[in-house]
Symmetry: C4
Subunit: 210 residues, 4 copies
Amino acid sequence: MGATEDRADTARVEAFSDGVFAIAITLLVLELKPPTDSQGLWHGLAHEWPSFVAYLSSFLIIGIMWVNHHSMFRTIVRADRLLLFYNLLLLLWMSVLPFPTSLVSRHLGHTGGDASVAEAVYSINLTLAAIAFSLVWMHAVRGGRLIAAPMPPREERAAIIRFSAGTFVYAATIALAFASAIAALVVQFAVAAYYVFEQVGAGSSGGSST
Amino acid sequence: MGATEDRADTARVEAFSDGVFAIAITLLVLELKPPTDSQGLWHGLAHEWPSFVAYLSSFLIIGIMWVNHHSMFRTIVRADRLLLFYNLLLLLWMSVLPFPTSLVSRHLGHTGGDASVAEAVYSINLTLAAIAFSLVWMHAVRGGRLIAAPMPPREERAAIIRFSAGTFVYAATIALAFASAIAALVVQFAVAAYYVFEQVGAGSSGGSST
Amino acid sequence: MGATEDRADTARVEAFSDGVFAIAITLLVLELKPPTDSQGLWHGLAHEWPSFVAYLSSFLIIGIMWVNHHSMFRTIVRADRLLLFYNLLLLLWMSVLPFPTSLVSRHLGHTGGDASVAEAVYSINLTLAAIAFSLVWMHAVRGGRLIAAPMPPREERAAIIRFSAGTFVYAATIALAFASAIAALVVQFAVAAYYVFEQVGAGSSGGSST
Amino acid sequence: MGATEDRADTARVEAFSDGVFAIAITLLVLELKPPTDSQGLWHGLAHEWPSFVAYLSSFLIIGIMWVNHHSMFRTIVRADRLLLFYNLLLLLWMSVLPFPTSLVSRHLGHTGGDASVAEAVYSINLTLAAIAFSLVWMHAVRGGRLIAAPMPPREERAAIIRFSAGTFVYAATIALAFASAIAALVVQFAVAAYYVFEQVGAGSSGGSST
């Protein structure tokens, strides 16, 4: 746990993570299947709307996670084994996301319990990803373990809360999925979109303050 | 919006973008399916010509987009959040391109409306990619925001027009697809080929003048 | 064999290897298929447990292999052709792992010989990967060939044994698979988990001592 | 054509190429399908031998091409647009290789013309890749255009021949495929294996002499 490694190492963690993010985000397209509708291609494509919504949502979420990962690793200047492991956990939940995305694609267009189950599985995946994200961040920031200089306690706590807020929203969408699968997806989409703009507007006061 | 980041950051944006371009261009091959024709393999392969045309066209277009992206980021020296977001939008349209490519593969060989619809969807994808490309470039260049030094206004305008010209041609192929799907594909192919040679011949006077 | 190359080269070997590890680990998700169970989605997902176990196991193993590869290349400072070749062999066994993973996914849930065969094939793959790993390491360490300074003979022998221990365990699971496929998978999982914690706890005394 | 770019650029060309090589080599596994043989899994796997041969052959060939690409770019120190284009052509033939690999997988196990056609298509792909490889190399080396210093004419000619020899062998296998598909595959395999050892043994006198 004490073994810290130098700058060159966070470079390779970032490179590997970039690879996994880039592949996961690009593999999503394999879930989009050409329609086999006999009423013409427009009609078939229109019926596939849940696939497009799920694709766009997952693309946006992985993209935002990448942007945040990138911000986070501007602050993290050293890597230890536990960081590698927590980061691997985060990559696990990013890599597997195309699977619940395909469940949502397939079931969101139908009424009934399966749409809720699919969306709940998707929400669980996002929640676990957000938890892994927080683990990486807390491990690095606590007591200035893997960052350039320890933050004042209040700032440290704020930094941790800032990066963990998404976890609670995603966890709430697990329950919401059973009330309305579409409402849960809309909330997830809104969270992702919020992060885009929050980051754009407040980038200078965020993790990238150095 | 004001938060600019240093050189190291455009390096990671470039690395992530390279990853997505490289994966999208390589995943195209998964749309090529072994023929199941009972009249022999040559015959089966010959009947698959629309797949090969669509593959080659998408490969060339993603490849050229990568070359241009690479030129563009030789001029862009800083990254802000909005740049990351516009770039993510560009990567979205690159990543999803294998899907309309598969629609074209499947329908171009048949006469009738579906070939036009498939080609129109393909054209819409290319147009949206070209728009995202222009957004990245305009955001970076305007007033010298993310480049080493502001360009003189006339040069700035010329640089923006240069990178946006493709947008209008791609937009025109949306309409053309309904007259003739093959004509639209030929025009797209020609635009890609033109960029290869334009770049080769005029590379020194382009964005890479620094 | 004598031709050594400078630091820049191990950088490109690492980059290529990172790419292959990242892609292999992310492609695993394509083996997870949406269930087509008529008794509802929960039921269908529950019946897919062997797929999830196999996915998690392979993800963890490739992830750990990557962490170890990363450690190993912090010690290796030069590359020669034979290193590139042994490393390519390692990447072969990493790249092909999704195939035996899919065999395990498909057969582990059923009793009978095929579950054992699938698990044995999986174990053979892991054993071959571990052997390739040892070849890379032994070739680099022997007489200080590709590392910064030769180790004392005793330390050299210890370093080789340390990295080769996994090979014998994986080889033993080939036989174990025929007694119990699930027991073999549990052992493999335990080895991977052990490496996570062994690395975390003893990272400072490991290959990364420089 | 005159526009040369600095070192940083060959870095990004190499990174993009590494990505495509890494993805193409890893996607090959998707052509390996779990057998659906009713006589047990061993039996089913044994019947899939053409898939394993084709997989191994393509993996080795892409791997060797990567090693050579890596050697080549140690000598090439500048990039111009035409180099990017020739390199893109090489990446095209690497990316598409999984398709003829799947044709060989499917037809090599059966006697008759289709095995020859499949193998001939595979040979054509390899020949085109070798030609693209030579184009990159000749363009860079001729008159010292993109290398550190011009070679003496005799050495330049030797360097070009060295990198082009494979082309003629691959071209010969197109014809050989019609006599015997398996013989053609054996020759291709032998060429790849030869390059492994030729490189290992003579690495110091090759392109990496600097």
